[in-house]
Symmetry: C2
Subunit: 329 residues, 2 copies
């Protein structure tokens, strides 16, 4: 690979002037500029990012920390971030933590060692000192932290909407599925729904999901109908859980949405391909990724921030696992 020296040699100038044309700063005569550009073209020169990073003490890499890219919600977040970052010349180093502290710390460590320009973190441990040190800017993604830059959606509102729609459809014996205790986002949507249900004229019960994994979702769905066979409405903790519940309901011969309504959360792409297509509360994952990337970009450029905590709106996607208003039995 050609270096700046080669270019300087070929153009008959010093590396300093090559650097100047490269970065478009300082004075450089028009003639020598073209000479240099020609040489660069001829040698197919591209600057070594590693050398740049070393000098600048900052690379054009962004660390993206995710619980698990295998969960369909996160790839969208990642894509949103990537597409945004891309345009400014930043790339992503990705790390899946599996929600394990050790893995997370390990990734954080290597992010630092690679002099990342910033970090996008969907973490369960926002209070880690690693996130408050001023090594690099951090934006929390799908998570909040008091006073820290973050992008998330309105979980309480989402939970409320789900419960309201469930009631509107006329369910009288609702099972509310509570997501993993350690996930604040899961708790928020849960408590939003709980509030509504508690003040409503409907019977309801709560079940707890151990995780968002497929296996746990399937197990939960079975338990749910075993424990509460009279359930005629399920507010699931996310779309995966909802799919599992839908699956189990159909397996038991129930008609959806006539016998039982089901509402998911997230609106992952696959949800519309379920049958019946899943009614769900949509989080704008791709846009959240974009917003977070944007915020981070501003921080990296040390531009003043107007807002530091960006809350994205949540919307109800009415498909066919819920009934119409006038569809009550």
């Amino acid at each position: 690979m050609a270096t700046i020296k080669d270019v300087a040699g070929a153009a008959g100038v010093s590396v300093a002037t090559v650097s100047r044309v490269l970065n478009d700063n300082g004075y450089v005569h028009e003639d020598t500029r073209t000479k240099v550009m020609l040489a660069m073209k001829k040698l197919n020169y591209y600057p070594n990012e590693v050398a740049r990073s070393l000098y600048k003490r900052e690379s054009r890499l962004i660390g993206l920390l995710l619980p698990d890219i295998t969960n369909p919600f996160f790839p969208q977040l990642a894509r949103g971030a990537e597409d945004e970052l891309q345009r400014e010349g930043y790339r992503l180093i990705i790390g899946n933590s599996d929600e394990e502290l050790e893995k997370e710390l390990d990734y954080l460590q290597t992010f630092k060692q690679n002099q990342v320009a910033g970090i996008l973190a969907a973490t369960n441990y926002p209070d880690l000192p690693e996130y408050s040190g001023s090594f690099y800017p951090v934006v929390f993604l799908d998570r909040t932290k008091e006073g820290a830059p973050s992008v998330f959606s309105d979980g309480r509102a989402g939970g409320k909407i789900a419960a309201e729609e469930m009631l509107r459809g006329g369910s009288k014996c609702i099972t509310l599925v509570k997501g993993p205790d350690h996930l604040p986002t899961a708790q928020e949507r849960f408590s939003g729904a709980l509030d509504v249900l508690q003040n409503a004229d409907a019977q309801f019960q709560v079940m707890s999901a151990a995780s968002f994994s497929l296996n746990d979702a399937a197990a939960l769905a079975e338990e749910l109908f075993a424990a509460y066979p009279e359930t005629d409405g399920v507010i699931a903790s996310n779309d995966i859980a909802a799919a599992a519940v839908l699956h189990e309901a159909l397996r038991l011969g129930k008609k959806v949405p006539q016998d039982i309504q089901i509402i998911g959360y997230d609106d992952i792409p696959q949800s519309r391909l379920l049958f019946p297509p899943l009614s769900t509360v949509r989080q704008p994952a791709y846009e959240m990724g974009k917003e977070a990337a944007n915020l981070l970009l501003h921080m990296i450029k040390k531009e003043p921030l107007t807002e530091t905590a960006i809350q994205m709106p949540v919307t109800f996607i009415k498909r066919q696992t819920t009934r119409k208003d006038d569809d009550h039995e």
Copy 2:
């Protein structure tokens, strides 16, 4: 962040000896080693990867090029690779090409500028000069290239299995969905199935899918039943398409698998949550990612390779969108 100089200062030795203990090479007295280790601990020192990379002209970063992480098949590939690379201290820089040449070249370029140690590429353009230059080792993932290291699964066998199972279930009017023309993997599974169908006592027709996107899949499913209402078996190009077909079949009031059998391809995690759970041909995506990472690791270490083209086995996952042997109408 503490540097090697700080450590040297604190330990009262030269940076050279710190480097020696760091890399565990060359002679260093036991006493001075402990002195140095103590200093490192005290200063919470971790070597700057960027500086290392610059000197070594190789970073501990691996470029991972994917069509689209949003397609559920790829996150698994990525996780497999990540988990394997992780153990040897390598991290992933990720790039989604959307199958666009320009984006791909752009990522390849920046991978090089970041001096990646190697590249894992799920590319449609394996013949690009970028892949044959000897800048960095490359392993093709889910793709083949004559004589080049690659990890893929046996598409023809997969297609055959799908067709055989379809026939075994007794379908007589089969629609075979052909995936995008530009995807060799899609063509292979297609031609495998085609071979079987052509030599069988069954009527069949072919439909072409423009892409693997959800929207196209949904549109295709509608067209399929409009064009071939008598279809009693669909061999889909992948699980997304199969989900769409299943969806449409149920919407039309068909019984699955009694009226129509459906077979997918890939076995993405969500497929078992469909109802009825999808019968499909499984590609071991996670393992493929692992194998590819492993192969690449060997190449990076310049270890001799026994095999360079690794073909992974494909298996039929019998769930409930296909009939039993004796289940014929």
